[in-house]
């Protein structure tokens, strides 16, 4: 009896491991250099008091990601495909152009993160950024999907750098865990903006397109969907656990010692040194570099994929350049321009570009979320797998809150110029 149950468990575990990937990778890319910076600031400025936001953020992330993963499994089509077939060429075209602009900005910020992370180790950005760009480009163009996915999963494991560096910082564990489940509200603009920043950067439009395409490309079957859902849930939880450790590490050191203003994630890494030691700094910076490379790899690729998909052009890394020219030019172009911007432009000039791309991201998010909600409720597309009523209530609340917060975030950036 016990042996049978064990064998049963083993089979299930094996299926899970075969299906796992898209959800975990997508969620981890969410912790890109921008995300790490935001968490560092939250910890440095407000200590443990913002940890409670991670719970609602995780739920929102799971709800939204589960929806696209389900659509991918049931329809076998990418999100861009579905939007094109449902809402026509023009809506798709405008959406794709906006996504392209936003993702170019995002790519610049990933390479900026790479430069900043490596500066902790004393490497010059003039060497490291072009090197990173070539590495990222070659990995995807020369590798197969399975190989690339394995590399991505390994990169996800490297996020362990943050928990370790957090342990080195000797935080008040009891207080930090309690803070997760004890919502506190402080007055003041800064606190509110910080919350908006934390929540607003969590759900980006491009992630939905990437996750759905990855699920489709992996060919996950309806029977295996249960496991795919766990992939999404585990991914989202891991992501926010990593976020927890980043916030706690910064809270235990920077906040506690009064070093509350940091300009970049690399700043946070350097500031750890006198308080938590060299190893903590190195790990923190290593995590940043790893995150930068991972997202610099996935973002341009995902963008090239869904732009071509939506516009009906040939795409895919298994195609030759002559077969899918637009795909390769988009992918290469995003990396080259992204890396060049970091090498050539001074930091003061990079910031407005990155800010602008966040604005475009924010404007698009409501549209993408509403498209998703409407598509996943369609009987003819989803059949018995369309959203249940309870799910819809949660999903609509999530979307309305996300949209509201994004609008607030954009407003704050416009009128206060607050780098949240």
């Amino acid at each position: 009896m016990d042996r049978k149950r064990l064998a049963d468990f083993r089979t299930r575990l094996l299926i899970f491991l075969a299906v796992v990937g898209p959800g975990i990778i997508t969620a981890n890319v969410d912790n890109d250099p921008g995300g790490i910076y935001t968490y560092s600031v939250a910890g440095a400025k407000f200590g443990y008091s913002l940890l409670w936001t991670l719970v609602p953020v995780t739920i929102a992330l799971i709800v939204v990601q589960e929806m696209v993963a389900r659509m991918g499994v049931v329809t076998g089509k990418g999100l861009a495909d579905l939007i094109r077939e449902e809402y026509g060429f023009r809506a798709t075209f405008i959406l794709m152009v906006c996504l392209l602009v936003a993702d170019l900005g995002n790519t610049i910020s990933e390479f900026a993160g790479l430069a900043s992370g490596m500066s902790v180790f004393g490497a010059s950005r003039y060497i490291i950024v072009p090197l990173g760009a070539v590495l990222v480009w070659a990995l995807v163009v020369k590798g197969s999907y399975r190989f690339v996915e394995k590399v991505f999963l390994v990169a996800c494991i490297f996020y362990i750098a943050y928990p370790i560096s957090c342990f080195l910082a000797h935080p008040a564990w009891k207080e930090s865990v309690v803070s997760v489940f004890r919502p506190t509200v402080e007055s003041g603009h800064g606190y509110l903006f910080m919350i908006i920043g934390l929540v607003g950067t969590t759900i980006a439009p491009w992630m939905q397109f990437y996750l759905q395409s990855a699920v489709v490309e992996k060919g996950i079957k309806l029977k295996e969907y249960v496991y795919s859902r766990w992939d999404v849930i585990v991914g989202c939880v891991i992501t926010d656990v990593v976020a927890f450790f980043i916030i706690v590490a910064c809270a235990a050191t920077l906040y506690a010692s009064g070093h509350r203003e940091i300009q970049s994630a690399a700043d946070a890494a350097l500031a750890l040194r006198p308080l938590a030691g060299h190893a903590a700094t190195a790990l923190f910076a290593f995590g940043l570099v790893n995150a930068a490379l991972l997202s610099a790899c996935i973002l341009p690729l995902a963008t090239a994929y869904y732009v071509c998909e939506g516009l009906g052009l040939e795409s895919g890394i298994n195609k030759r350049v002559e077969e899918a020219p637009t795909f390769y030019w988009l992918y290469t172009g995003l990396i080259v321009v992204g890396a060049l911007a970091v090498v050539v432009l001074r930091e003061q000039m990079q910031v407005p570009i990155i800010l602008f791309s966040q604005v475009v991201n924010g404007i698009m998010l409501p549209f993408v979320l509403i498209f998703m909600l409407r598509l996943s409720n369609r009987q003819d597309l989803m059949g018995e797998h369309r959203n249940t009523r309870t799910f819809n209530v949660i999903a609509w609340i999530t979307c309305v809150v996300m949209i509201g917060l994004t609008v607030l975030l954009l407003g704050s950036q416009f009128f206060h110029g607050m780098p949240v």
């Binding site: 094109r84 026509g88 060429f89 075209f93 079957k221 009906g312 298994n318």
Partner: protein, 420 residues
Amino acid sequence: MPRREVAMIYFTEIQNLPAYDVMGAYLGRVADLGIDPNQNALRVAAYLVEAPDRKLLYVSREQMQSITVRSAQTSVTRDRISSNLPPGDLLRVRKDVLDQQVIDVDHRKVVRVNDVDLEIQPTNGHTELRVLAVNVGLASAVRRLLQGVTAKHTSRKICNFIPSRTIPWEFVNLIEPDASRRLKLRISYERLARLHPADIADILEELSRDEQRSVIEALDHETAAQAISEIPTEMQAQLLQSIPVEKAADIVEEMAPDEAADVLQELPSETSAKLLAGMEEEGAQEVKELLGFEEDTAGALMTTHYIALDVTASVENVIEAMKEFEGSLESIHSIYLIDKEELLMGSAPLARILLAPALTPLRELSRDEVQSVPTEADAKEVIDLFRKYNLLSLPVVDDKQHLVGVVTADDVLDLVVGRR
């Protein structure tokens, strides 16, 4: 065929065209065109007009008096126009063709439709529309963007300067995953089925899972088997799992034994057992023998479809043997010679057999030393032999020198180049 410009109209120009009845009363706007493939696959059979109260009116083809880029006018009054769906299913241009993926059988690829070209044809006192072609090029994309933004003649002028790509309707193969609807609308994959299996395979790779399934189910077993053999093994496995077991077993039976063994190894053991059980005894036996070999060894690479004759046979026996041979004749490059115990004794190249007198013993045409490999030889060893001796095929022997199979050059090529 010269065509007057006025006689040609794009679907983007018809969409939202105001429609009036014979008295000049406003009916609504044209929303879609319906084709009844059971009557005429090229002719528009009904015009779906959306009235201001959002109800749909069905103007039949005989009721349409005239169509221009400015308006449509019926030959009857409002009360004669039905608001019920005509009997039978209609192929809808906007719903089923526009923005959907279709197969361009002429260029052998999957494309997404941007626009549809129609011809205005005055017939017996009314006006008919005929489908000419679908548009996939840049010009049609621009036309979609300008639709409703600039005046129609302006759009035409602008798009005249842009390269356009049209696919004549007779080269378009629609894709409809729903089998009953496909039957009702007479959508056949006949045009697709006439392509080379390798081209069908390329097309399959571009389709979503349901679409792939519908194409495979519609093809005959042999074509399906050939096409499936050309797609990546993972995708083969997914596809075979999505179709009924009996059909899958029939297809696997038609595949070359080595290809069949490869895909069965990729499937869950339960499924592959079911497929083997569904195959004919002889075919299943051949595949089972191959399944025992480790991946990337000569045993796993070889096929069991080859021609071996007794060592005493002469040239005249060869034709007889080839007539009886059930596998693919193109893969035969040599005739193998075996003794009573099935020990490999020689190999006679087909080209030399062709030139020899009918009574020549095959043994005289064989080289003294025949290259062969043991079943457990690894892929690298096999590749080296092919390169060194410029082979087209290589016999595989077991540990007692019995001939058990043949590795052919096409499998080695896949091995060297990788399956993309």
